[in-house]
């Protein structure tokens, strides 16, 4: 590899030829014969070149960036086998997931040694957590880190590389001596994949002939031995050499740590104290070295390498575009060159054109190189966010080294509108209850319904508790909530309950985590919840709440591992704590379904021909819609990946050897949870990669180590790799993918290629993708990929790690003491919009094709409007039919049922049978629904379309749009109605029947005919509760015990009865139970009056109520019973043994009031004579004192002796006559 670079430096071959040589397996025709000859001899090494180059640059920069921010790179050894190759020893590399570049079997070459030191250097920033911790624990003494320092020494001792020995970095573990330069905040670093730690034991026996791609270390149980054969497929088959044991152990520990990470705390860990502590000292001791273009050494060489490097980046030959940019930015902002221990050797021109001398000999070289590279990537830079552009444009080094670039950047900054703000996810708002999906009819049983009711509440209780506590130190999700969650999951017995719960879970997930600034609480694909719309206005409050909910945004370096920031952590931990396989299965089903649905959503496509301002406004909406869909998809896919691969992920090392083979054999039998391969293929075909790939990457980022080895997923990776290579940013043409779309895909793919579980060698495949990456596109010319759907906001939201570039620049400005999150993150509230569902696409005929053609030349908003109107009107139509036709039928059912009940008596027959009869009578009427529905759609759709389209829409277009809307709405409504109307009527009638039958039951009297008070009533009557309470007091006084001074006045009694009358007449506050009790109490009161048991206040002489007063009160009661009570009054109680028995206690007994009362009851038609006679008869059967029984018999006789009066109803007219009863009673 070095040979290539060297021939390049010697100008034997051109840069273009080299790049062509790398990128294409076949020789380009434009290569001149000399170049071709030079390169063709090196053909077997072709694919090793890029990893070599990257490693070389990293290594060369190690003196500048000894401990700077991580510039992880991953470039595997050239010959690394495709991971999935069955039985291939490359599996061994699974054990070395942490490596940047797996070792190759390539024999050592002359250029190898410089790289040997990489082991030490590589452990710089990336693994800051382990490193920092360790450094403090062990490194204070200045001693080497185990493995790192030791190896470095060995490496540096390599006799073949004297020059490198000189520049050998000093002990990096000494933080005092080598404070991290411009380092990113240490905290987030803790969450970086620790694969960046790559201690590399250096083989003593390297020859000078060939460089080793030893930016990487050998995996466990293998050694970068001098095994020669470049094509050896078992490069790491040998045992560890002596001395590697500790390294192996160390790596083992690291790997365990690493594999734990994804399952750890929901938010990126906060800066740990031991990491934070070295910071202050670092800031103080540092002085920036100025960079001077005049002092650049070997310009030409730097230019050449920069050009090759830039070309590799431009051709997407490097795995991660932004990682390389990050590296370049690091070089640009490098503060200080570590001076070599020994004096630099004489730099003769002869040395300069080889690799023998360090590439970067000073800060000047670094900055020069960086600026050279940046110049080649102006286009990418100019598409970064405005903040980054500003920092770049203001960078004095850049100005100094390339005023031209600076000028372009400044212009780009001034023209940029790409303000990016990373909004936080919206706060917790509950998923609203929707009767259509949540009411009893959606559950198999009452029990399931009520269980789910409870579960919903427990779920939110747990969520609230999490909100309150999850940021408290020492709070543990599992300890705090685990048992409650499992108890709740345990109650979900019915499968249907699981699906209900999963729906709630998923909706809540989308609601809380889905969108940037989606504060409206609108769940995608659902109608916006009117109730929550006002809430959206209260953004200030919401944001404040959110801030509480959100963990501080922390960066994870340019390649953070997949995490669950903020609220997502709750859902992740919930899944883990629930540990319910049923739940997980239902969740996967539901997530898959939603992903399919959203992925297939017909997002509007950009019409390149309407570029006027109007469509611009529309386009904002399209973009927002796309962003909402994309972010939702990514969230869902992330959780799907998490759950789907959960059973296969664990802290144990990935299997190797035979074990791996058997696992592979087993796993390859398991169908994928979601057919992502097909979705990807279709997405590529339909030119919708910009939608499909980002979520697929999220899904794959949770794959376990075995996944990339499976044929199925390997196909996916190959497709992705090809796509990656094809996304050459400089190639822009009509109908091809937009720049920012490409940038998004490059960013997410680059990130994916850095995930520890993705084999590092995957990227540099032998069958390197050719530039002829062509998929058969069946899609229209302008697929989604060609539409400018991605903006910087979306790019940065999907790939927050791109923001690391800005941080790096900002840290340069602010000095290295910058702390985490040095930027104020502004929150830009944006609103989300619900998506109208796709109209059904059935019955496509010529008409449909015409309609389609009609839309083709109209602005996309027209189509959306029509589809929206059709969707809504269709849905409203169904609701309208429910509220009118079905409701009418239900009313008919109720009256039919009443008839049935009357004819069949109280029982009314078997309810099921009744229902059948009713349904057979009523369901045929459902046929009207279609006609009514059609009429409704015709009536409603045109107006809605007219209201929503611009006034200026031509009449013909308008009327066509209206007609199409009517047609679509009718189609939708009628499709639903014809399929469901009978079932709907049946369901509603059934509910009505059971309602009626229930009401038939215990309290038929409660349903009085006369309800409500007169219109003039002002509802000032005393409250029923007050009256019951008052009467109760009188009763309790009457039955005692009472104090001697207690009693009631006759006036009070009268007033009470007067109030009772008012209350009964004003029925505003009266409920049936209260009326019942009032009736009962009034009867009790009457009995006490008759028995003269009410203690009257006043002079002792009046201790008993006067006869006249008593009669007056009884009259009032009779009148109330007759006129005012609407419910039944238990008058027969007046003759119950208990009440009549009250008389037994009075001496002398007074029977006249009772007789009076009985006569009046008959007189007023309140009780029939026969009824009273029966009561009196039964009274005789009770046991009484002898004299009382006699007197009772006399009363009976007296009452019975009176002449029979006409039947009550006939006497109604007589009631107007003078009070005959009173006369009788007094006789």
């Amino acid at each position: 590899m070095a040979a290539v670079l060297e021939s390049l430096l010697r100008e034997e071959v051109s840069v273009a030829a080299v790049v062509r040589w790398i990128a294409r397996s076949t020789r380009g025709s434009e290569d001149n014969p000399g170049e071709a000859a030079a390169l063709s001899s090196l053909r077997p090494l072709r694919k090793e070149f890029v990893p070599f180059l990257l490693n070389f640059l990293r290594e060369q920069s190690s003196r500048v960036l000894p401990q700077g921010p991580p510039t992880p790179a991953k470039a595997p050894g050239a010959s690394a086998a495709l991971p999935g190759r069955p039985g291939g020893p490359s599996r061994g590399s699974r054990g070395a997931r942490s490596q940047l570049f797996p070792p190759t079997e390539a024999p050592s070459t002359a250029a190898e040694a410089p790289l040997a030191r990489r082991g030490g250097r590589r452990r710089g920033p990336g693994p800051a957590r382990e490193r920092g911790g360790r450094g403090l624990e062990e490194g204070v003494s200045g001693e080497n880190l185990p493995g790192a320092g030791g190896r470095r020494l060995r490496g540096s001792g390599s006799p073949s590389r004297p020059s490198l020995t000189l520049s050998d970095p000093p002990n990096l573990s000494n933080l005092e001596e080598f404070p991290p330069v411009g380092s990113v905040p240490p905290g987030p670093a803790g969450t970086k994949p620790s694969r960046r730690i790559n201690p590399t034991p250096v083989s003593e026996e390297r020859s000078l002939s060939k460089p080793k791609t030893c930016f990487t270390s050998p995996p466990i149980s293998c050694v970068p031995s001098s095994q020669p054969s470049a094509l050896d497929t078992s490069p790491w088959g040998l045992g560890l050499p002596p001395g590697c044991r500790s390294l192996q152990e160390e790596r083992e520990m690291l790997r365990k740590e690493r594999s734990k990470q994804p399952q750890q705390s929901p938010t990126p860990t906060c800066p740990t104290p031991e990491l934070g502590s070295p910071l202050p000292s670092r800031a103080g001791s540092l002085t920036d070295e100025p960079a001077d273009p005049a002092r650049v050494s070997s310009r030409q060489r730097l230019e050449l390498v920069a050009l090759v490097y830039s070309s590799c980046i431009a051709e997407n030959l490097v795995p991660n575009l932004f990682l390389e940019l990050f590296f370049v930015f690091q070089l640009l902002t490098a503060r200080r060159m570590v001076t070599a221990k020994d004096s630099d050797p004489e730099l003769s021109p002869g040395v300069l054109d080889s690799l023998e001398s360090p590439l970067f000999q000073s800060i000047h070289d670094c900055v020069f190189f960086a600026v050279q590279v940046l110049e080649c990537h102006f286009q990418v830079l100019s598409n970064l966010d405005k903040g980054t552009l500003k920092l770049l444009a203001e960078n004095e080094r850049l100005l100094c080294f390339s005023p031209a670039l600076q000028g372009r950047l400044r212009a780009a900054y001034e023209g940029s509108v790409a303000k990016v703000s990373l909004a936080m996810p919206p706060s917790a708002q509950a998923v609203s209850f929707q009767p259509e999906t949540d009411n009893r009819a959606n559950f198999s049983s009452d029990r399931a319904f009520h269980t789910f009711k409870k579960q919903r509440d427990v779920f939110y209780e747990v969520l609230r508790e999490w909100e309150d506590h999850h940021e408290e130190p020492g709070w543990d999700f599992e300890k705090g909530l685990g048992s409650r969650i499992r108890a709740m999951m345990g109650q979900l017995s019915a499968a249907c309950s699981h699906s209900h719960f999963v729906r709630l879970f998923q909706k809540q997930l989308l609601q809380m985590c889905q969108s940037p600034g989606g504060a409206g609480g609108t769940v995608l694909g659902e109608a916006p919840d009117v109730l929550s719309m006002l809430g959206a206005d209260k953004l200030g409050r919401l944001w404040r709440l959110q801030e509480r909910l959100m963990a501080p945004q922390s960066s994870g370096g340019p390649c953070p591992p997949p995490t669950f920031p903020g609220c997502q952590g709750f859902f992740r931990d919930f899944i883990l704590s629930a540990s319910s396989f049923q739940f997980n299965q239902h969740l996967m089903d539901s997530l898959s379904l939603k992903i399919r649905e959203l992925n297939g959503l017909a997002l509007p496509q950009h019409e390149p021909n309407d570029e006027d301002g109007e469509s611009d406004v529309d386009w904002q909406g399209e973009r927002r819609q796309f962003a909402v869909v994309l972010l939702s998809l990514r969230l869902l896919a992330k959780f799907l990946g998490f759950v789907a691969f959960l059973p296969y992920r664990g802290p144990e090392p990935p299997p190797t050897g035979e074990l791996q083979d058997s696992i592979l054999a087993l796993r390859s039998q398991v169908p994928p949870v979601l057919d992502v391969r097909t979705l990807l293929q279709r997405g590529l075909q339909a030119r919708r990669a910009v939608l499909t790939v980002p979520w697929l990457v999220e899904f794959l980022s949770f794959a376990d180590h075995v996944v990339p080895l499976l044929d199925y997923y390997r196909d996916i990776f190959i497709l992705l790799l090809r796509l990656h290579r094809s996304l050459v940013l400089s190639q822009e043409s009509e109908g091809k993918m937009c720049f920012l779309n490409k940038l998004l895909l490059l960013a997410v793919l680059g990130w994916l290629f850095q995930i520890p579980t993705v084999p590092e060698d995957l990227f540099f495949l032998e069958e390197g993708p050719s530039d002829a990456f062509e998929v058969d596109t069946v899609a229209p010319e302008h697929g989604l990929d060609a539409a400018p759907v991605v903006d910087q906001q979306l790019l940065y939201t999907c790939c927050p790690y791109i923001g690391e570039l800005r941080k790096l620049l900002a840290l340069w400005v602010s000095g290295s003491s910058g702390r985490s999150g040095g930027f104020m993150r502004k929150i830009t509230p944006t609103t989300t919009t619900g998506l109208g569902a796709q109209p059904s696409r059935t019955s496509q005929g010529l008409q449909a094709r015409l309609a389609h053609a009609f839309f083709h030349n109209q602005p996309p908003s027209l189509r959306r409007t029509v589809e929206f109107v059709a969707e809504r009107i269709g849905s409203n139509c169904v609701k309208h039919i429910k509220a009118t036709l079905v409701a009418d039928l239900v009313r008919q059912a109720e009256s039919l049922l009443q008839e049935q009940l009357v004819t069949q008596g109280e029982e009314g027959g078997d309810p099921a049978q009744l229902l059948e009869i009713l349904c057979s009578q009523l369901c045929p009427h459902g046929a009207q629904a279609l006609a009514l529905g059609r009429e409704f759609c015709h009536r409603k759709s045109p107006g809605a379309v007219r209201a929503l389209l611009p006034e200026e829409t031509p009449a013909a277009v308008l009327s066509s749009a209206e007609n199409i809307a009517v047609g679509l709405a009718t189609e939708k409504a009628c499709a639903w109605l014809s399929a469901n109307i009978t079932a709907l009527i049946r369901r509603e009638v059934k509910a009505a029947v059971s309602r009626t039958l229930r009401a038939q039951g215990p309290e038929p009297a409660a349903r009085g005919e006369r309800r409500g008070c007169s219109r003039a009533c002002e509802h000032h009557a005393p409250l029923p509760s007050h009256l019951i309470s008052e009467i109760k007091d009188v009763l309790s006084l009457a039955v005692g015990p009472r104090d001697p001074d207690e009693g009631v006045s006759p006036e009070h009694l009268e007033q009470l009865l007067g109030q009772l009358g008012q209350t009964l007449r004003c029925r505003q506050f009266l409920c049936p139970p209260a009326e019942q009790h009032l009736a009962k109490c009034s009867v009790d009161l009457a009995s006490l009056l008759v028995a003269d048991q009410i203690p009257i206040l006043g002079p002792p002489a009046q201790y008993r109520l006067e006869r006249g007063q008593a009669r007056r009160l009884l009259h009032m009661l009779l009148s109330l019973w007759k006129e005012d009570f609407q419910g039944p009054v238990p008058l027969q109680l007046l003759l119950s043994p208990r009440n009549v028995g009250l008389l037994a206690d009075t001496r002398p007994r007074e029977w006249d009031l009772l007789l009076f009362l009985l006569r009046e009851l008959v007189e007023k038609g309140l009780m029939g004579r026969m009824e009273i006679e029966a009561c009196l008869g039964s009274l005789h059967q009770a046991q009484w004192p002898g004299d009382f029984a006699e007197e009772l018999a006399t009363l009976s006789n007296l009452f019975l002796a009176e002449p029979h009066l006409p039947e009550p109803q006939l006497r109604a007219c007589e009631l107007v006559q003078p009070n005959r009863g009173t006369v009788l009673a007094q006789s």
Partner: protein, 281 residues
Amino acid sequence: MILTKAQYEEIAQCLVSVPPTRQSLRKLKQRFPSQSQATLLSIFSQEYQKHIKRTHAKHHTSEAIESYYQRYLNGVVKNGAAPVLLDLANEVDYAPSLMARLILERFLQEHEETAPSKSVINSMLRDPSQIPDGVLANQVYQCIVNDCCYGPLVDCIKHAIGHEHEVLLRDLLLEKNLSFLDEDQLRAKGYDKTPDFILQVPVAVEGHIIHWIESKASFGDECSHHAYLHDQFWSYWNRFGPGLVIYWYGFIQELDCNRERGILLKACFPTNIVTLCHSIA
């Protein structure tokens, strides 16, 4: 009538082991003349119920029941007209209505072939005339009309008070032109948890969004409020978002701590209601 926790505790302190009679209530009103009677009664009732919940079990051991029943029998043999049962209840510090139920159950067990069903017992308590024994009927009746915390009459009063306040609230909503769905309408639609009213268009009260209103015709003390939060208010929040609870008889001020979280407490119908402006919407 919003009380601080200290004020509330002062009242509650006076209620320890006070029998639930009208005399006790009278004394309480004299002791705290500045408090509304309804609030005092509500607090009294709640405190007494807490007391009964704590001591309930000891009155339901078979030994206790047997001893009460014997004392009742001895008492009525001596004098059937004396308030035997009521005195017994007051003496052992148990609610008269509950004592009546206890003795009635015991009596029926002795006199009937089969154990009496709950509905039979309830029916007899509502209408003591149905009790086969005249003396017991009178004793039971006396207990019920003298108990101001338990019994069918008290239950009915509480129910009526609750209903009246719902009606009151409904009137106020209508008066303010706030459209709403009431409990019955919600139930008909199949909602599993139903606050008294859901506003069809949310409003804001003191800067807080209100989607639903629940009327509570009682005093909001810690115990009842926590139970309500758990069984009702949070459930409403879980389904409908933030809302308002009106404790018509007041509450402990410190309990109004979930405003930010979405549960606002008031002791009356709010005066300053901000509605959604249609010009903005």
